[in-house]
Amino acid sequence: MPDLGLEVLMKGNNLLRLFDGLWIAVEISLLSIVISIPLGILLGILMTRNNRLVRFLTKFYLEFIRIMPQLVLLFLVFFGTTRSMGWNLPGETAAVIVFVMWGTAEMGDLVRSALLSIPGHQYESGKALGLSRRQTYFYIILPQTLRRLIPVSINLITRMIKTTSLILMIGVVEVLKVGQQIIEANRMVSPNAAFGVFLVIFILYFVICWSVSMTARYLERKWS
């Protein structure tokens, strides 16, 4: 049996440190999704407006965010804005900003298509009952769209968790970085640590994302 470098994880609190690193990733994605949902609903409503300028601007925003690799967006916020605005942005904050921008765009598009899928007579009935525009949205349209949105927004969470692996590149100490630190620190005692540590990280990511996407699939089946 070759040395797989798994024993490193049993030393000290190495395994716990990995979990801590993973928690940072999960925390950033949860925080981002919580901020993205209301902003995304707002963006989605704006996107269904008939105003041409509003439609153009929102479409432009969505397409730009969609077409750029997330790593490029992270670089733009982390290196670009700090340089041009002269402030000092921690990597975590930059990550949340980028994920909120991205999440808002994706949520906005989902909300837009959910809103469009609601038949026009729902709006008209609201109006006929004497509800104002805002009341129609709040009491009639949004409750119907929310149910459709929950499974897809859970899907978005898994995509975000997967994307958090990138924040290593802007200097956030998350699970991959912790893994590298553990490997470096044990270079002499267990030279094969890279195999075991990265394998465990691989499995950890899988377990988290898989259970979240199973939940999404279950809800989708239950509510459709």
């Binding site: 077409i67 997330q70 994307t163 990265f198 990280i201 994302c209």
Partner: protein, 220 residues
């Protein structure tokens, strides 16, 4: 102030990086199309044991980040004697990730072809292979084209993490130049422009094709 002399000086570096990005991207995408097609056919034909493996592969590949897959391949595998060059790692990682996305796209295309098509093919005296080749695949491919193009854009975007395994792609070049010259604005602007040059054409083709396919009304 935008430093044009600097932009002119580093332009060749970006060009070389863009060529590498596109080249590795295309290789990975071609491989993932092959993997995806094979997996989709295995799922569609419900081949007993292989089907299980394909399902496990799809779940694993869809629920792990490419960066983690690459780190495992590039830093982990050499420890058990499998040494891969960064290029091979990048292409293999992209194919491993893309295979499952392509499989899902093709499978939903295959599922959209109604059963009556297959039955009609059989009643015309075609065998299984012929029915697949002449009746089912052509229809399935045209319905899966929008998802297929979306996957291509997704995979090209994912190549941006190649810089983590020391491939000199666009991200690597940009980060390197920022560190060297502190021309952050110019370097990042060039990065965005080059990614747009790669991704925008694919995205436009995707939008046009999607409209066409919707008009054609296949599978409806």
């Amino acid at each position: 102030m935008v430093d044009f002399a600097y932009i002119e000086r580093v332009l060749p570096l970006y060009e070389r990086a863009a060529v590498l990005t596109v080249q590795l991207g295309i290789e990975g995408i071609l491989l993932s199309i092959v993997i995806g097609l094979v997996c989709a056919l295995i799922l569609y034909e419900k081949i007993p044991v292989l089907r299980r493996f394909v399902m496990i592969y799809i779940e694993v590949s869809r629920n792990t980040p490419l960066l983690v897959q690459l780190f495992f391949m590039y830093y982990g595998l050499p420890k058990i004697g499998i040494v891969l060059t960064p290029e091979v790692c990048g292409v293999a990682g992209l194919a491993f990730l893309g295979g499952s996305y392509m499989a899902e796209a093709f499978r939903s295309g295959l599922d959209s072809v109604e059963n009556i098509q297959r039955e009609s093919a059989y009643s015309l005296g075609m065998n299984r292979m012929q029915a697949m080749r002449y009746v089912i695949l052509p229809q399935a491919v045209s319905t899966s084209i929008p998802a297929f193009l979306a996957n291509i854009i997704f995979l090209l975007k994912e190549t941006s993490v190649f810089s983590a395994i020391s491939l000199m792609d666009l991200m690597f070049t940009a980060k390197d130049l920022i560190g060297l010259y502190y021309k952050t604005t110019e370097s990042l602007a060039l990065l965005v422009v080059f990614y747009l040059m790669i991704l925008l054409p694919v995205s436009i083709v995707g939008a046009v094709v999607e409209r066409r396919v919707r008009y054609a009304g296949f599978g409806a």
